[in-house]
Amino acid sequence: MKREKPDLFAALLISLMTNLLLGDGAGYWARLGLLSFPACAAALAGVAWLFARSWRQVEPLRPVRWLWLALLTGAAALELLRLWQLLCGVYPGSLTLLGVCLAALLPVLYLRRVSAIAQTANVLLTLSLPAGLILIASVAGGLRVSNLQTPACTAAAWGQAAAAQMVVYPELLMPALWPDHDKRGPHTAARLAGIGLAVSAGLQLVLELYFGAALPWQENPVHTAARAGTFLLFRRLEWLQLALWCMMVSVKLALYLYAGVRLLGGQGCKSENNAVGIKRLPVYFLLVVSLCFCWRQTDPERLFAAQNRLTAVFAAAVIAGGGFLWLCRSQKNC
């Protein structure tokens, strides 16, 4: 089969899933989350679509591009910090921050082609299905329907669930950078927001069935569940999940590098598939590792929350700016 235009949808989805898997929970109860899911998915898709439309207007402004580049670099470093913290908790003393950075960024060397990112993400997505089933099977004995929480459906509770779901991750905005985005329409944003939130709500449901009311107090609920589960002969299968998450982080880092290259004007390359190249990898590596070392003392979850807020502010600014520029241009044309 000819490789015409690699589709990065799977890579974006993998990247979105990483945000959920490495974090400390989605912050809402499954019942409310599932009910508010359609509205939130539609709202997120709308934000992503508006951002993509506005981005075309503000794209020529270099400071805006540099700002997004800085946000993406920070997000990449943050992801490595979260992974490092998780691995240090599981295998204390066996891994250094530099080692984690090296091991996670080494595969990016072979993920410098857009088609490689797309196809590798497809493989990981396929692998994540049996891995997820194994995770559920390993904790199946501990899943209790009675653990499901039934919070009152007050406006405050709805608002809390919606706020927890309405996180504007950089992955939702990234399709605006892809060269053929204009031709794809709003489908990508809708699919991405929909599937991303569905995975989040589904995961939340399983975790709630397992942990019950204790869920909010778990530091990394998915990992804790994976650690506690047993499957056939095996007492613990967390390594399987950890290995998969490490791979997902590498794909995410490769995706961010490609997005960065697009922001720097990678369109000038001979073919889009080779846009990333190998020359930018050392700079990316140095930047990300430096940021990791700067932030190593800070709580990654706090940084992650701050990054999400910044991304939301950035998206709002771009939408507002893009709208304003569009209005100005329309006035001039009239």
Partner: protein, 479 residues
């Protein structure tokens, strides 16, 4: 201008002198002056490549019977090329470079007084190995013949199985010092025209000092030189080459090599063989899945063992873990070094067995496998579980022989990474291998097709094989 690039002369003596100056010192160079139809001629050939008997029977005696007389050399050449029944090439050879090429190809040249053109006579008789069974690529069913070193014979082996007008066999001369010939074979109805053109262009651009095998072309056809996965597949079986031609692939044959190169090549093809299609679909599917498992075991098995013992003992069931821990406690080396040294030793034994003369290769195997292995365990240098895992990985490698090099390289990388970084290193290696496979795009095709993205094609003839009626239906639907 070099002498051989000059135009030929009308003088027979001058032309003969030119050839004598090039080949006169060679023992196999043969020349003889004779008169045909009243015109002085000279026949030249290499005795090892061309047969004087054939020349006498097929050409000279025929000419003698015709008893014609010619006004001049040009008339004789015209007659030989257009009217005579002797097996001559239809075009006259006016350039000296062409003469050399024809002589090297085993043809006899007839130089004629008064004509600047020579006539090439097909009197080739080269020493060649007969068509035999292939050494590798074992198959129980289907044709049991293998390619030989003769390019023309190999083309004929292909054409014998591919009996349509669609088979194209383009012979080209490579830019090598020895001017080796290679042949581009494809089905003009099924092969993508742009791919054929791309292969043709790339091969034409290759400059090599020597071309002894089709594998020499491989690195030139690769897009990403850092990628370790092969850009092409190889076969010594005409039947396999024929099957690939039917799939729209291109087969490259090189003169002097019994190995045919197939491009573009996909990852799943390394797990297929002719027997898959002769045996039942269920059994063939099982064997294919086993081969994928064998590849995973060959590459990641030892690394998983090292990772389990050094970083993540929870992987191993409790009963087994106690035994492994006891065995490891008795050896001085950490699991990573132990596994690396045993794997290296196995590779050395394999290489020695392969390169040594056949009479002593068995001894090498016995010394390597039994004596060193047994004594290393007895002396407590390596543990039995490590030896077992390394041996299992080595045997698993042989289940997918076409990915042998890659399996070995990936295995060492995996052991190192898993030994240094544990689960993270193991994940890093798995992703490296996956990314390499995903990043490879031979001539713009997906290397992982039809396995990824998973679809109907993956189950039709990918991870497993579907029944013949479905395969045939899919083939009919294909453009």
């Amino acid at each position: 201008m070099p002498e051989k690039c000059k135009e030929s002369s009308r003088s027979l003596a001058e032309n003969a002198q030119f050839l004598r100056s090039l080949f006169g010192m060679s023992a196999d160079y043969y020349e003889k002056e004779l008169v045909i139809g009243g015109i002085r001629c000279r026949i030249v050939m290499f005795t090892g490549l061309s047969s004087p008997e054939k020349l006498t029977v097929m050409a000279l005696s025929l000419l003698e019977q015709e008893r014609r007389r010619f006004a001049d050399g040009a008339a004789l050449v015209r007659y030989l090329l257009t009217s005579s029944r002797i097996p001559a090439e239809s075009e006259p050879l006016a350039k000296r470079a062409e003469w050399i090429e024809r002589l090297a190809n085993g043809l006899a040249l007839l130089l004629v007084e008064g004509s600047p053109c020579a006539v090439a006579l097909s009197t080739q008789e080269m020493p060649q190995r007969s068509v035999s069974e292939p050494d590798g690529e074992g198959n129980m069913h289907g044709p049991q013949e293998a390619f030989t070193e003769q390019l023309r014979a190999n083309i004929s082996l292909l054409r014998r199985q591919f009996r349509t007008a669609a088979l194209v066999a383009e012979v080209h001369t490579a830019h090598t010092h020895a001017r080796t010939e290679y042949c581009l074979c494809y089905d003009r109805e099924r092969a993508a025209a742009d791919t054929v053109e791309a292969v043709r262009r790339r091969l034409a651009g290759i400059r090599l000092p020597v071309l002894l095998d089709s594998t020499y072309f491989a690195s030139f056809l690769k897009q990403d030189k850092l990628n370790l996965f092969p850009a092409a597949a190889y076969t010594v079986r005409p039947a396999t080459a024929c099957a690939r031609l039917c799939e729209g692939k291109i087969v490259i044959l090189v003169a002097g090599s019994p190995s045919a190169m197939i491009v573009p090549s996909f990852f799943s093809e390394h797990f297929e063989c002719l027997d898959d299609y002769s045996s039942g679909a269920v059994f063939a599917g099982l064997i294919r899945l086993l081969k994928y498992l064998a590849f995973a075991l060959a590459v990641f098995g030892p690394a998983l063992y090292v990772m389990a013992l050094s970083f993540a003992p929870e992987i191993v069931p409790a009963d087994l873990l106690a035994g492994l821990a006891r065995a490891e406690a008795e050896t001085p080396l950490p699991p990573m070094l132990e596994m690396l040294s045993v794997s290296l030793l196995l590779e050395i034994v394999r290489e020695a067995g392969l390169r040594a003369p056949k009479s002593i290769s068995h001894t090498v195997s016995i010394v390597g496998a039994l004596i060193i292995g047994e004594t290393a365990v007895s002396a407590g240098i390596v543990s039995i579980p490590v030896l077992t895992m390394a041996a299992a990985a080595t045997i698993a490698t042989l289940a997918v022989p076409s990915l042998y090099e890659q399996s070995i390289l990936f295995r060492f990388a995996a052991i190192l990474l898993a030994g240094i970084w544990g689960v993270l290193g193991f994940a890093c290696c798995v992703l490296l291998v996956t990314a390499m496979a995903c990043g490879s795009d031979p001539f713009g095709y997906d290397y992982l097709y039809p396995l990824m993205p998973p679809g109907r094609a993956a189950w039709r003839d990918g991870f497993v094989r579907s029944i013949w009626s479905r395969l045939a239906r899919a083939d009919r639907r294909a453009p």
